[in-house]
Structures are given as structure tokens and as C-alpha cells.
């Protein structure tokens, strides 16, 4: 029983099917580890012990009867912006501290249907706005590799939980890097699929044209398995794409020979920590040994991706978050004098500082007289960045580079200046703007801290980027390293 937490999700699912251990045993072990870790990591906002144990018992019964799906009995955590019926969905915000969703997000429903057991809801930057998990109303999450450091964000709780082996996998969302950046900083594997691949129905919206649900796990193979179960067309999401979901697991073992890797010139800029760069260059040599060919490619407009993002994302967020007005759900101020007071105080009290900053930035860039100069201009530059990617993928299969400029940084190091914080997502935002699938996987350490390698592919090439990540993980063992104290 002691090695359950260091097993991969794929191994656990097989073990449950072979009935080497029960789901109740496994889930209880996870719950115990979660509770023991809360004081130091603060990775969870809600732990659903009772319902998890009930579901685990039902999973055991199903397995005993010879039934069950691909994930039956496997414990999993959901980022707390996926709506979960009957369970608080807070989005890391005081605004939704008392909000109990009356419905399940499509992702939650699909994983439930595949047999997964939800053990809790993970901590996150408030409304997914942040790169360090320090904007959460429920306090910051800490990095399991060094608790004085941030885990990254916004899916910091999911990343820390997987890195500390509290759960074998967790759902997450990525608007500008919120899956990949914490995966890199926590030394785990995360995939942000193609925009439209995973339903957004039931994901509390931050920036609708950028948000995409995905998964954090310890290996690419586990990510492939969970993604296969959560992806697919959803009639409730107009931006969901009606393209069949390939079997990402079955495709993993295809050989890499002849893979054309583009080495993105703009990813190796002056902001990249030289030690991080070393790890990434070493990884590129691993790919060469695996039979890939490397070519340098340039996306000249990519350096503008962060400014584009900080127009488009706040604009959409200012509108998406207008529904939080204290009337139908969410925080309502005490004794409002009048309607405007109800709005202004409920929102001022319910939202934290970074969320307000983005709402105001977005309100400004959409307002009369500034729309063309900011919003339309940004959408035009977005088109240029997209065109750069399209051009690059005419000559290469995937683009590989660093996920972040540096390893994890200290709590409080970047909170004073929002722009410094925003620049942490400089390598990840491009994939969101163009809607591309991208993986981050561990590729070594700098001063004892994990470094992330990013693989970006063209639309709907999840199978290909997961293959590339899987091949690397067959050749290396960085993904198997566990933070001290959690092994």
C-alpha cells in the first residue's frame, strides 16, 4: 500500500481493474495525504471526503461485478473553477465562497462517467487570474519542491497536488499558460489541448476565446488517458469542435523517427535564465538522439503576444465577470443603500485586487474612444501571431522550447509589479492566442528546482505532442522525481 502514491495513474487504473487494491483504500490514502499536506501546501479549497469514499465504494462494487470504465475508482481532483453539482465552486474568490453549483461541468460529468472519483477541488488564482497562485482568496499554494516558492498559476493547487503525489492527476485550465507554467514550476506534465477540443461548458469563464480545459499528471501517458476521457464535442458549447477524439493512449508508442522539430528563436531570448536554457538545449539533444531533426524557426510577431494577451483577456474578463452583481448568486454586500451601492460594494468586496485590475483594464480598452486603438489593434496583432504559427507549421511538426524563463520564484517576489508577473507567461501565451495544443514536461533541474520543456503543435495534434513528450519520458526520468518529503 505504501507505494500507491508513487504509481502512475495508468498503473493505478490497471491495479484497480486487477483488484490488487480497492478504490476505497486508494481514495482513503489520497484523502489522508491531502489532509496531511494542507497546512504546508494549501493545495485544496474543498476536500470531498464523504462523497469520495461513497463513490469509491460504488467503484469497487462495479469492478467486482466486472464492470467499470477506463478510470473507474481512480481518484482525481478538479480545479475549483469546474462547476461540480452540489459542491462549492469558489474559483478561488470571496465572490463565490458560498456558491454551490447546481450542475456539473461537461468535463466533470465525462470524468465521472469514465469512473473517476473526485476527492476535492483545488486551489487556484482568483478566477484563474495570476501566475503564482497568490491571488487566491483562500491563501497561496506553496511549491512542494520548496515551500518558500510559488507553484505557479493559475492552476497552482492542481499542480502542487500532483507534484506532491496527493492525487495521480487533476484537471486544470489554461488561458495564458495556467496549465503549463505551474506544470513546469512543479516538475510535472500538463497538456493544454487545442481550443475547442475540451468543452468549456461549466468552466467559469475568464477569457472565453482563450480558456481551455486540460489535465495535469506526472506523465504524458497519464495525461493522454485522462484527456481522452474528458475531450470531445459538446452540444452545449458553441465553440466546441465536432472532430472525433483519437485514442491518445494507443498513439503514444508511435516512433518519433523523422519528427521535424522547430526550435523557436524567439523562445531563447534575453529573458531566459541561462541555466534553464541549458536544460532545454540538453533536451533538444535527447530529441535528436531519438531521431528528430532540429531546425531553427522564427515567429517575428511572437514577442507581442503578452501585450496582445493583456488587452484581449482583460476585455473578455471585464464582460464575463459582469454577471457577478450580488443578485442571483455570489457575494452580496450588507444593507445596500440602493441598486448602485449593491453593485459597487458587492463587487468591490467580492473581487480581489488582481481581478479588479483586470476588470478595469478590460473596461478601459473596450470603452468609447479606445476600442480601436487597443482591442481591435490587439486582435489584428493576434492575427499576425497566428499567421506566424501557421507558417512555422508548414515546415515543422512541433515547436519546442522552454515553458518559463526561470524556475519557481519566491512568494511575494513579483506581486508588487503586475507587468513583471505577466511576463512569466511570455512563452506560453502564443499557444492560447492561436488556439494550439501544447504540453509542458519536466526536463531537468536548476538548483534543485524543476525546469519545464514546452512542445507546441498545430491544431488537433494532441496525439503528436503527447507522443513526443512520451518518447522523451521513455528516455529520461525527470518526470519520476518526487519532491523531498512526498516520496
Amino acid at each position: 500500500m505504501t507505494d500507491l502514491h508513487t504509481s502512475t495513474l495508468t498503473e493505478l487504473a490497471a491495479g484497480l481493474r486487477a483488484r490488487r487494491f480497492s478504490s476505497v483504500e486508494l481514495v482513503r490514502a489520497c484523502l489522508d495525504r491531502i489532509e496531511a499536506s494542507q497546512g504546508t501546501l494549501n493545495a485544496f479549497i474543498s476536500v470531498t471526503r464523504d462523497s469520495a469514499l461513497r463513490e469509491a465504494a460504488a467503484a469497487d462494487a462495479a469492478l467486482a461485478a466486472g464492470g467499470g470504465g477506463p478510470l473507474t475508482g481512480v481518484p482525481i481532483a478538479h480545479k475549483d473553477l469546474f462547476c461540480t453539482q452540489g459542491v462549492r465552486t469558489s474559483c478561488g474568490s470571496r465572490m463565490l465562497d458560498n456558491f454551490v453549483s447546481p450542475y456539473d461541468a461537461t468535463v466533470v460529468a465525462r470524468l465521472k462517467a469514465a469512473g473517476a472519483v473526485m476527492v476535492g477541488k483545488t486551489n487556484m488564482d482568483e478566477f484563474a487570474m495570476g501566475s503564482s497562485n497568490e491571488t487566491s482568496y483562500y491563501g497561496p499554494v506553496r511549491n512542494p519542491w520548496d515551500t518558500s516558492l510559488v507553484p505557479g498559476g493559475s492552476s497552482g493547487g492542481s499542480a502542487a497536488a500532483v507534484a506532491a503525489r496527493l492525487v495521480p492527476a487533476a484537471t486544470a485550465t489554461d488561458t495564458g499558460g495556467s496549465i503549463r507554467q505551474p506544470a513546469a514550476l512543479c516538475g510535472i506534465t500538463g497538456i493544454k489541448p487545442t481550443y475547442g477540443r475540451v468543452s468549456r461548458y461549466g468552466m467559469v469563464a475568464f477569457a472565453s476565446s482563450l480558456d481551455q480545459g486540460g489535465v495535469l499528471a506526472t506523465t504524458a501517458a497519464d495525461a493522454a488517458l485522462v484527456l481522452r476521457e474528458m475531450a470531445g464535442f459538446d452540444v452545449n458549447d458553441s465553440t466546441s469542435v465536432d472532430v472525433p477524439v483519437p485514442d491518445y493512449v494507443a498513439a503514444l508508442e508511435q516512433p518519433l523517427g523523422g519528427l521535424k522539430v522547430g526550435v523557436l528563436k524567439e523562445f531563447f531570448d534575453k529573458g531566459l535564465d541561462p541555466k534553464n536554457e541549458e536544460r532545454v538545449r540538453e533536451s533538444l539533444r535527447v530529441y535528436e538522439r531519438l531521431g528528430a531533426t532540429l531546425t531553427e524557426v522564427s515567429l517575428p510577431n511572437l514577442p507581442l503576444s503578452v501585450p496582445v494577451y493583456y488587452v484581449v483577456a482583460p476585455a473578455e474578463c471585464s464582460s464575463n465577470l459582469a454577471r457577478f452583481d450580488g443578485v442571483r448568486f455570489g457575494h452580496r454586500c450588507e444593507n445596500p443603500r440602493d441598486l448602485q451601492d449593491l453593485y459597487r460594494r458587492s463587487r468591490a468586496e467580492g473581487f480581489g485586487a488582481e481581478v479588479k485590475r483586470r476588470i478595469m483594464t478590460g473596461t478601459y480598452v473596450l470603452s468609447a474612444g479606445y476600442y480601436d486603438a487597443y482591442y481591435l489593434k490587439a486582435q489584428r496583432v493576434r492575427q499576425l501571431i497566428n499567421a506566424d504559427f501557421v507558417r512555422a507549421f508548414q515546415s515543422v511538426d512541433v515547436l519546442i522550447g522552454p515553458t518559463t524563463p526561470t524556475p519557481a520564484f519566491a512568494l511575494g517576489a513579483k506581486t508588487a509589479d503586475p507587468v513583471t508577473m505577466y511576463l512569466n507567461d511570455i512563452y506560453t501565451i502564443g499557444a492560447n492566442l492561436a488556439g494550439l495544443p501544447a504540453v509542458s514536461l519536466p526536463c531537468g533541474f536548476v538548483d534543485g528546482l524543476p525546469v519545464g520543456l514546452q512542445i507546441v503543435g498545430p491544431h488537433f495534434s494532441e496525439a503528436r505532442v503527447l507522443q513526443a513528450a512520451h518518447a522523451y519520458q521513455r528516455a529520461t526520468d525527470w518526470h519520476a522525481r518526487v519532491p523531498r518529503g512526498y516520496a
Partner: protein
């Protein structure tokens, strides 16, 4: 008010008669208990997303085709951002830069009988808001979101109307059209069809428009006329007394018969429109548009000219009979039974029947005299069983008792007397009883002819065939 010209443009909101809402599967039926028809999408719950109703798109295209407008093969939904309690998401999903329908026009008939073309700038799809209830909740306003998300077609005219009467004629025209197309029930009391009027005045001959005021949410033809007339007078008086019209939103108060400023809506009208990222561009191909075109019914203007042509009606009568689809159907049901009396049928439908309906404020579909019975009455006039005058009496009984024309004629013995000898006998009696008048007539008082007609009619209870009576009386008096 001479020396001033009024300029009016209307924004008509027609609720589309879909079963479900524009972006959700909630019912759109009127009158449900509060919030019983507001689902998670209508309530703007966190995480939910809109999916567009095909029927709303089809209905918008239908309207566009019916007024000869351009149908956009590429249109875009945008968010109009503002805070209001009846607007759950804090934005309304509407169409802004690329509406589904643009550049149409409709023709209205002016009082002098001439026609005028009113341009329709655009018609776009959007979602309706909920309702605020101010009664019975001291200190609070209650919000019912059943109406939120009901599909609306907003039909925006050019500022082409020059009087309240023209505005009403245009509004009636649109009303008729949407009901013909069966895309809106047109129920103004329930708010299914309402309008905002943009009103300004300028010195006659001036080129520039004056500053306009927008009168919001007027829900009857009568109120449109009154609100505009009030507003025009207000603006002229204001300018003439040295003041200035300010661009603002005003509300018409039907009880006081005046418009007043709605400052609450003025506070922040920076709507920050941008394309809704939750919805993709609506792309319509030629096949879709053709399919809708094939489903178009005969339109009011087409029907009116057919009526004029085939039934020999005046443009006015044809216009009245086609003003509602139901009325035109009623009329054609009558004519089908008495095909050789199309003109007479029109007179009856537009005359006695219309008056009777009006008196009781009934729709044609609720007429106490159904079409086949009215046809029965027309047939009896046509075959001279009764005179036109008696027919009015018969109609009254039919209306009151629900009987057929023949039943009334039989039971009341109203059959017309066409027997020459019978009429002659009555004439002889009348002449015998009035020797003085007879002598006067013979000495040249021609006017007394009418007196004798009246006496005969009185004696026969009005049943003598008038033409025969005339002819026989002339013969007797001339001999």
C-alpha cells in the same frame, strides 16, 4: 406648429414566436410563474454558454426576404455591456456591426391615398431582458427572468417618417407583416411587439436633423401617436422659448399623456460592444436562404393587389381586407361561397361586420358570424330573397343569436315580396287611402313619389322589392 418639420425613426422590437429561447432550451410561453422559465443560461450562471436557436435565424431571414432586404451570409453576435437588474449577465447578446438583415424597405399608404417608402436600415437578432416588478415589495424591486433570452428581432427604420400618423402607419405595416409571416404573435399588451421612437424637429427646409429624444418601450399604436405628438410639441415649445433639446431617453406615461426623462438609463451608456467570444459567426449559405424563401406565404402587398385585380375592389378596400392575415382569410372564405359577389362581400366585411367586431372589441377570429354564414346572407341579397336594408336587420339577429340567414328570414318572415300582383295590390290600397296626396302629385308635386314608396314599404314591412316597386308605382301614377 407651422414652420416646423417632424423627423421620426422607429426601432421596433418583435418577439419571435419560437418555442424555446434564442440561446437556451427554456420555454418562451407568456404568463408562467416568476422565474419558472429561467434556466441556468437565462440566469447567466457561472460557466454556462449560449447556443443559437435555428428557428430564430430562420424567422429573421424570413422577415428580411419579405421586405426585400439584404440577408447577410456572415453576421456576428456582439455583447452590449451594461448593468441593469433585468439583464442577468451584465451584457445583452445582440448584433452590432454585422446584423443578419440590412437595407430593406416597406411601403405605407398615406391619408391622401399616395404611397410612401420607408427605409429599413437593419433588422438584427438579440435576446430580450427580464422584467422588473415594483408593486407589492416595499423597498424592493423584484426580478423575473422568464422573459430573459426570448428572441427579439429589432427592426430599425431610417428617419423617414414626418408625422405621428406616418409612424403609426409604418408600425402597423410591420405588425401586419410579422403576423403574416407567423414570426411574431403581435400581442402588444403582452409586450411581444413594442417600439422605441426617435423624435426630432427642425425648421421646415432645414437640412440638418435636430437633436433627437428616444421614447422607450411604447406598446400600442395609440400611444405611439400620442407620445410622438406630445414630444413634438414639447420640443417645439422648448426651442421656441429659447431652450435646447437634449439627446436623452424618455418614457411615455399613458396615464398623464406625457413623456418624461429617464435619467436612470442615462447614467452610463458606454456599451463597450465587442464580438461575443462564446458565439461564432453565423454563416448562411444560399441553400438555407432559398429554403426560407420557398416557405414565404403570400405577402400583404401581393395579396392586396390580387384582391383589387381579381375581386374588382378599390385599393382602399383591398388594403383594409389584407391588413391582417386572418381578415383576408375570412374574406376569401366568404367569396369562395359567393364568387359572383366579391364586391358586395367586401362591403359587408368592411362594413357591418367590422362595425360589430369593433363595438365588442373582437378579433376577426372571434367573430360571432363565421364566414360561411356571412356568405349565406350575401347569397340571399344576391338572389333577391331580401333587400340590402332588410339584410342589416337579418345580420343583427345573426350576430345576436348565432342563427343562419335563412333561419332568421324564415322565422321573421322577412322574405322579399317580388310578386307583381301583390305589390300592385298594396299600391292600389295606398293610393286609395291618400286621395289628397294623389291629387297634389298629379298637379305637379313630383316629390310626393317618395311618399308613396315609403307608404308601400311601411305596409309591406319593408319587404317589397324596391326596383319592382319603383317601376310599378311609376306605371300606376303615370296612367
Amino acid at each position: 406648429m407651422s414652420g416646423w418639420e417632424t423627423v421620426i425613426g422607429l426601432e421596433i422590437h418583435a418577439q419571435l414566436a419560437t418555442k424555446s429561447k434564442i440561446f437556451s432550451g427554456s420555454a418562451t410561453a407568456y404568463g408562467a410563474p416568476p422565474n419558472a422559465q429561467a434556466n441556468l443560461v437565462d440566469l447567466g450562471y457561472p460557466g454556462v454558454l449560449p447556443v443559437l436557436n435555428a428557428e430564430a435565424v430562420r424567422m429573421a431571414v424570413k422577415f428580411g426576404l419579405a421586405m426585400g432586404a439584404r440577408i447577410a451570409t456572415h453576421s456576428v453576435f456582439a455583447r452590449k455591456n451594461y448593468f441593469y437588474p433585468d439583464l442577468p449577465k451584465g451584457y445583452q447578446i445582440s448584433q452590432y456591426e454585422l446584423p443578419i438583415v440590412a437595407h430593406g424597405s416597406l411601403e405605407i399608404l398615406l391619408e391622401d391615398g399616395s404611397a410612401k417608402r420607408i427605409g429599413v436600415t437593419r433588422a438584427h437578432l438579440e435576446e430580450d431582458a427580464g422584467k422588473s416588478l415594483h408593486e407589492g415589495l416595499p423597498g424592493f424591486t423584484g426580478i423575473d427572468l422568464n422573459r430573459a433570452g426570448t428572441p427579439l428581432l429589432e427592426i430599425v427604420s431610417e428617419p423617414d417618417m414626418r408625422s405621428a400618423k406616418e409612424a403609426v402607419a409604418y408600425m402597423k405595416k410591420v405588425h401586419t407583416l410579422v403576423r403574416y409571416l407567423e414570426i411574431c404573435d403581435g400581442n402588444m399588451q403582452e409586450g411581444s411587439f413594442r417600439c422605441d421612437a426617435n423624435v426630432s424637429v427642425r425648421k421646415a427646409g432645414a437640412e440638418k436633423f435636430g437633436t433627437r429624444a428616444e421614447i422607450k418601450n411604447i406598446n400600442s399604436f395609440r400611444f405611439v401617436e400620442r407620445a410622438i405628438n406630445y414630444e413634438v410639441e414639447r420640443q417645439i415649445e422648448l426651442i421656441e422659448s429659447g431652450g435646447k433639446v437634449v439627446q436623452e431617453t424618455r418614457l411615455y406615461d399613458p396615464d398623464k399623456g406625457e413623456t418624461r426623462s429617464m435619467r436612470s438609463k442615462e447614467e452610463a451608456n458606454d456599451y463597450r460592444y465587442f464580438p461575443d467570444p462564446d458565439l461564432l459567426p453565423v454563416e448562411l449559405d444560399a441553400a438555407f436562404i432559398d429554403e426560407v424563401r420557398k416557405s414565404l406565404p403570400e405577402l400583404p402587398d401581393q395579396k392586396a393587389s390580387r384582391f383589387a385585380r381579381d375581386y374588382g375592389l378599390s385599393a382602399y378596400d383591398a388594403g383594409v381586407l389584407t391588413a391582417s392575415r386572418e381578415l383576408s382569410v375570412y374574406y376569401e372564405d366568404v367569396v369562395r361561397a359567393v364568387p359572383h359577389e366579391a364586391k358586395l362581400s367586401a362591403n359587408w366585411v368592411n362594413g357591418e361586420l367590422a362595425a360589430a367586431l369593433n363595438k365588442e372589441n373582437l378579433e376577426i377570429t372571434a367573430s360571432r358570424v363565421p364566414a360561411e354564414r356571412l356568405a349565406g346572407l350575401v347569397a340571399r341579397i344576391s338572389d333577391q330573397t331580401i333587400s340590402g336594408k332588410i339584410a342589416k336587420e337579418v345580420f343583427e339577429s345573426m350576430w345576436a343569436d348565432g342563427a343562419s340567414a335563412d333561419q332568421v328570414i324564415e322565422s321573421k318572415g322577412l322574405r322579399q315580396i317580388t310578386d307583381t300582383s301583390a305589390i300592385e295590390k298594396v299600391i292600389d290600397d295606398v293610393l286609395a287611402k291618400n286621395p289628397g296626396q294623389l291629387a297634389d302629385y298629379r298637379s305637379g308635386k313630383d316629390k310626393l313619389f317618395g311618399f308613396f314608396v315609403g307608404q308601400v314599404m311601411k305596409a309591406t314591412g319593408g319587404k317589397a322589392n324596391p326596383a319592382q316597386l319603383n317601376q310599378l308605382l311609376k306605371k300606376k301614377l303615370g296612367s
